[in-house]
């Protein structure tokens, strides 16, 4: 909010127009994550993925560009930028060109509502969580578009699978989030994070703030909820073991088989940005968002300006931690088949999430 106010004041002082100030501040503060978070994070995550996978497999991974290859992704992006943009004759051109933009903007939209710290949240809307779920559903449209317009059977199969998968897995996600909403009574991510302030035992995974009996009753159900949410968000971002839409060994690359150059890079970036987004949501909901588990150094030292920075670091590290877990899972597990994926969702996750919801509801009423 500090960022927004700061921008608003500058523009307002220049133009003396509240509307102009509002719009400019909103656009700029919402665009900040793209420049400072989405792209750098995607680049970092791609590098991390390569290093993590390499070390898990007793390899070294990229080592040449920069120390331990940390510039590798940048080099790759530059290479991808230079590559020819191939559009086949039978592709549906408008849709084909639009799809990567849609997918990327879908994952970028999510960033707008993420509470990075108490001082900065791209767009502090009250329906934060619901907005994020809706926005990540937006990706499906892009993927379907990509699959259809590629005019490739593998792409089409991948897109169809993806659509079915993402739509199904939104249900357990929302059910778990409903549980949280029921306890906290808010859908604003910033408020939600503020509620979990203090020490780590105030986090939702430990039943939230306060010391009532219900807090302790919540704990097992919160853990179940967390696992369910984590699994279903994993599926929503098409990560192994749920990466069937791009299932490399079956569908070559699924919906982005036909893409090359920067368009492919956009899909790629979107995937990694999405990974961070869902991890951030999980941490915002269950692990206190930007809240530090042990209080702030800035408060102890009396330097209040340090607190938002610390909060940002905590938020980023929590997000990256869950991204690392996603990578860890990816390099351990095989892939499910499409019907088993659906079975997992409808037979296991949804009933569990639902029962969880009911029990938590009962506890809340008590």
């Amino acid at each position: 909010m500090i960022v927004y106010d700061f921008l608003y004041n500058i523009v307002f002082n220049i133009t003396q127009s509240a509307v102009a100030g509002d719009i400019t501040a909103m656009v700029i503060s919402a665009a900040l994550p793209l420049l400072f978070l989405v792209l750098p994070f995607a680049i970092l995550a791609v590098w991390l993925e390569r290093k993590v996978s390499a070390h898990m497999q007793d390899r070294l991974g990229p080592m040449r560009t920069g120390s331990h290859g940390w510039l590798q992704t940048i080099a790759d992006v530059i290479k991808l930028l230079q590559k020819e943009d191939i559009v086949a004759n039978d592709n549906d051109r408008p849709l084909f060109n639009l799809a990567p933009i849609l997918v990327f903007s879908g994952s970028y939209l999510v960033f707008a509502a993420l509470p990075f710290s108490s001082a900065y949240i791209g767009s502090n809307i009250d329906l934060g969580i619901i907005f994020i779920i809706a926005a990540s559903g937006f990706v499906v449209a892009g993927i379907l578009m990509a699959g259809w317009s590629s005019n490739n059977k593998y792409s089409l199969l991948g897109a169809m699978r993806s659509a079915a998968q993402i739509v199904s897995y939104e249900i357990p996600t929302i059910l778990v989030i409903l549980t949280i909403i029921m306890i906290t009574g808010t859908t604003n991510l910033r408020t939600l994070s503020e509620m979990q302030t203090g020490y780590f035992w105030n986090w939702m995974i430990f039943g939230g703030a306060g010391l009532s009996l219900s807090k302790f009753l919540f704990i097992p159900f919160m853990i179940i909820g967390f696992v369910t949410l984590y699994i279903s968000t994993l599926a929503e971002v098409n990560r192994t073991p749920f990466d069937i839409p791009e299932a490399e060994s079956e569908l070559v690359s699924g919906y982005h088989t036909e893409y090359s150059g920067m368009k492919f890079a956009m899909f790629f970036m979107a995937e990694y940005a999405n990974m961070f987004a869902v991890s951030a949501i999980v941490s915002a909901i269950f692990f206190g968002g930007y809240q530090s588990p042990f209080g702030y150094l800035g408060n102890t030292l009396g330097l209040t300006w340090m607190v938002p920075i610390e909060q940002f670091l905590w938020f980023a590290s929590k997000g990256i931690f869950f991204v690392l877990v996603q990578m860890w899972l990816r390099w351990t597990l095989p892939r499910l088949r499409v019907d088993q994926l659906m079975a997992l969702c409808w037979k296991y996750l949804i009933p569990i999430a639902f029962v969880n919801l009911i029990i938590v509801g009962l506890i809340t009423v008590l």
Binding site: A54, H55, M56, D58, R59, L60, W328, T332, L333, Y348
Partner: protein
């Protein structure tokens, strides 16, 4: 119902076991090396690029005949009496001028079949494996030590000798008797 929860438990526990394995491997040193900077020591029997030591080659053509992909081509010219071609390192006397000894290493299948029949052990496989070229034609290795002019000289010398011999024969060397000829054949 019991099965349902067993399933969940089974799924979870095996995933955890798998994750434990991969986690352990995060701290295992890598087995790969940084290739051009670090190179493995090759074993002594390494089979890579062929090399011919022309000082020892007697031009017997055995390697070319053993080659399953015909990547070795050898041409020789007989020496004329009086020429001293020297000896190979294991004491064999050379009798042929090798005028062409080409190995098309692009065709070579590294089977080492050419190495074993060589009587003087002059063709062998080395441990050189970095010999990529931009032109396919530069992968044809010429091992001949003679210059083209020398080769031409040897050829004409031999042709001259042949011609002389033929002339001698024609001039009146005692013809071989037909009976003897038949005997020889048998």
């Amino acid at each position: 119902m019991k099965e349902y929860f067993q399933n969940i438990w089974y799924g979870f526990s095996t995933i955890m076991i798998g994750m434990r394995v991969t986690f352990k491997h995060l701290f295992v040193p890598a087995v790969t090396i940084q290739y051009p900077n670090v190179k493995l020591k090759l074993p002594e029997r390494e089979r890579n690029r062929l090399y011919v030591n022309m000082n020892d080659c007697i031009g017997c053509d055995q390697c070319a005949r053993a080659c399953p992909v015909s990547c070795i081509s050898i041409e020789t010219v007989k020496s004329i009496p009086g020429e001293d071609l020297g000896k190979t390192s294991n004491g064999k006397k050379k009798a042929l001028w090798v005028t062409k000894f080409d190995i098309d290493i692009a065709k070579c299948c590294f089977c080492q079949l050419c190495v074993f029949p060589c009587p003087t052990e002059c063709i062998y496989m080395t441990d050189v494996y970095e010999y990529a070229e931009f032109e396919r034609s530069s992968l044809v290795y010429n091992y001949v030590t003679l210059t083209p002019a020398e080769i031409e000289a040897k050829k004409t010398n031999y042709a001259k000798l042949e011609a002389e011999k033929a002339a001698q024969k024609a001039a009146g060397a005692p013809p071989v008797k037909p009976a003897e000829k038949e005997e020889n054949k048998q």
